[in-house]
């Protein structure tokens, strides 16, 4: 799997390259700012781009904006955003059009190597990976009654769905069987009046639309 990295910290860039190459990925290019990213993606057409949010010149949300351009110009290239802080507003921007092939994670998650690589593979394969922190921010903004109809376990399942996990992933995370997860998911969709969606990323879309919906 071919990856392009945009990360302005030399140390982390080198670390990511090492991490990816030890784990069997091919790093096609590694750049230090957003413009370089667009050029590198155009040149190498990777499966996924790993993009730091805060990059030169402004050190605010360059990565998010670059990701939005990537999504538009290279829809077949998945984007995994990494940031020291995750913000639901940036997530909302990122997911506004399409939730497939998008990830938004705290940089800390890189430390959990296998979890991080799972997320990367999921995103590269067209799935979604949202940081649990973003999900809890989204849940907080959606301070509405329908959520109160969910049981605590169903809320956990909802959060994991929003992170972009598959049934198997959710089952592993909660240490329950996949059929139990499927039952919870059916309940959730019924209680929240969500249209039934087949496939992981359409499901994520439905959940995120709901969370982002009437946020105050």
């Amino acid at each position: 799997m071919r990856i392009v990295i945009a990360e302005d910290s030399v140390l982390l860039r080198a670390g990511l390259i090492k991490l990816l190459e030890t784990s069997g990925f091919e790093v096609a290019a590694a750049v230090g700012e957003a413009d370089g990213l667009l050029a590198a993606v155009a040149e190498h057409r990777p499966d996924a781009a790993i993009v730091d949010v805060r990059m030169p010149p402004g050190f605010t949300d360059e990565g998010v904006r670059a990701a939005l351009v990537l999504r538009k110009e290279f829809p077949d290239v998945s984007v995994l955003l990494l940031s020291q802080f995750v913000e639901e507003r940036y997530a909302a921007d990122l997911l506004a059009t399409n939730t497939s092939g998008v990830g938004y994670l705290l940089k800390d998650r890189v430390a959990d190597v296998s979890g991080f690589l799972d997320a990367l593979r999921r995103v590269a394969a067209g799935g979604t990976a949202l940081d649990p922190e973003v999900v809890s921010q989204l849940l907080l903004r959606r301070n509405s009654d329908p959520l109160e109809r969910l049981t605590p376990r169903e809320r956990e399942v909802l959060a994991l769905m929003a992170e972009g996990r598959s049934n198997a992933g959710i089952a592993a995370g909660l240490v329950v069987s996949e059929s139990a997860v499927a039952k919870h998911i059916n309940n959730i969709f019924a209680k929240l009046d969500l249209p039934h969606a087949e496939g992981d990323h359409r499901r994520v879309l439905a959940v995120l639309r709901f969370l982002d919906g009437d946020s105050t």
Binding site: S9, G15, D61, Q84, F85, E87, E88, D112, Q137
Partner: protein, 421 residues
């Protein structure tokens, strides 16, 4: 306030003291200037007594123009008199530098000009009358004290004849001496009156000066607050670019070691596992700390966006309501953010609450911030909960800070911040 700055000469009011003569010269030199305003005012009337309405109107208008033209030069003369005779420095009016008399005329509505006119036509005139009286008292006192020196020359049937009315002459001499001893006090009184009037009416307006001072101080304070804000942002950036990146890299390497070095002795692997977990915890702590300083998203997207980040981190359910249709200044936003961040930290550390309500609403030009929890209460400034720092930061932007926290709860923190500094 004014009198205290006039030089005191309480013990030197002897008629022969230098101070007394200086003050007398001051009073006497004032008289012609003090009547100059009236002279200008009265001049046309003495030359051509008014006959009909038109003439009266013109005669009323001309003196006003005259006084307006003369007001500034006359005021300067009075201030010069203060400095030359008494050594009292009355600063000139701020607008006067380089302004001609015509400028003053053009600005007939300026309160400064009317303060000058008030002196020239009212207060100064009264002072001038008092001045004249003291000069007259000197003359009478002198004449009476010295009555003996010329009384002998008078014929015996004159009422002041030394030979015929020795007792009367003696009494008059005594009265003259008394008058000479008393007059310096009167002179001193007139001087204080005049200097006070010149300071308050011909010098810079003290209220205006105060106002300017307040504006100055407010501006300086805003600079200090901004500088502190800037510093916070710099620290945030430094930590983000330095320590945080290196910690992520360290944690990543430990994670990699943990995943790949499976054939290490279990003790060695255990050390790596512990180091890895520890590094992740430090990362979380550091992230929470930096997030409380000044998040980039605050500047970028405003309070609403920034607050969800800290509210979501609280392990207690938070209800967050933000209604800020127009953004406040970045300094005020930073203070509001800090208030919520600190308050939530306090709730987590001390309150033992089961839910928290955070409300940030802009009503007009005031930002209302309320953080209410259902915890155990008892928060006070003395328990080192950072409330003092919080209150100070709120005060730095002229905000109000209130907290009610009875033992047993609930704790309600209310902060109001003016949006425009």
């Amino acid at each position: 306030m004014l009198s205290s700055s006039v030089p005191r000469r309480a013990l030197t009011h002897a008629p022969w003291s230098r101070a007394t003569w200086r003050e007398t010269v001051f009073v006497a030199s004032g008289v012609p200037l003090q009547f100059a305003g009236w002279a200008v005012f009265a001049l046309p009337w003495t030359l051509w007594p008014a006959a009909d309405v038109m003439v009266i109107l013109i005669w009323l208008a001309l003196p006003v123009l005259g006084v307006a033209l003369l007001a500034h030069p006359l005021a300067a003369a009075h201030r010069e008199r203060c400095w030359a005779v008494l050594g009292v420095d009355v600063p000139p009016l701020p607008r006067e530098e380089g302004a001609s008399a015509w400028d003053a005329l053009r600005d007939l509505r300026s309160p400064e000009l009317w303060r000058l006119i008030r002196y020239h036509l009212v207060v100064g005139t009264l002072v001038g009358l008092a001045g004249l009286a003291t000069v007259a008292l000197w003359a009478v006192g002198l004449a009476l004290t010295t009555v003996g020196s010329y009384a002998w020359a008078l014929p015996a049937d004159s009422p002041l004849s030394l030979t015929g009315h020795a007792v009367r002459v003696g009494a008059l001499t005594a009265a003259g001496v008394a008058l000479l001893l008393a007059t310096p006090y009167l002179v001193h009184g007139v001087v204080r009156w005049d200097v006070g009037a010149i300071r308050s009416l011909l010098g810079p307006d003290p209220t205006k000066e105060l106002q300017k001072r307040v504006e100055d101080l407010a501006e300086k304070r805003a600079d200090v607050v901004d500088a502190a804000d800037l510093e916070r942002r710099r620290i945030e950036r430094d930590l983000h670019d330095g320590v945080q990146q290196r910690l992520v890299s360290l944690a990543m390497n430990l994670g990699l070691a943990r995943e790949t070095l499976k054939d290490l002795p279990p003790e060695a692997l255990q050390v790596i596992v512990e180091a890895h977990e520890e590094s992740k915890e430090i990362l979380t702590d550091l992230r929470n700390f930096i997030r409380g300083l000044h998040p980039a998203v605050l500047e970028d997207r405003g309070l609403d966006a920034a607050l969800s980040g800290i509210a979501a981190r609280v392990p207690v359910p938070v209800r967050l309501e933000v209604d800020v249709p127009r953004r406040a200044s970045s300094t005020v936003e930073a203070v509001a953010y800090f208030v919520v961040s600190e308050a939530l930290t306090n709730v987590v550390k001390h309150a033992d609450a089961s839910s928290v309500d955070v409300r940030v609403l802009r009503r007009g030009d005031v930002l209302h911030v309320t953080v209410a929890d259902d915890g155990r209460g008892g928060a006070s400034f003395d328990r080192g909960t950072g409330l003092r720092g919080l209150a100070r930061r709120v005060n730095s932007v002229d905000g109000t800070f209130r907290i009610t926290s009875p033992e047993g709860g609930p704790t309600i923190l209310t902060v109001e911040l003016p949006c425009a500094l």
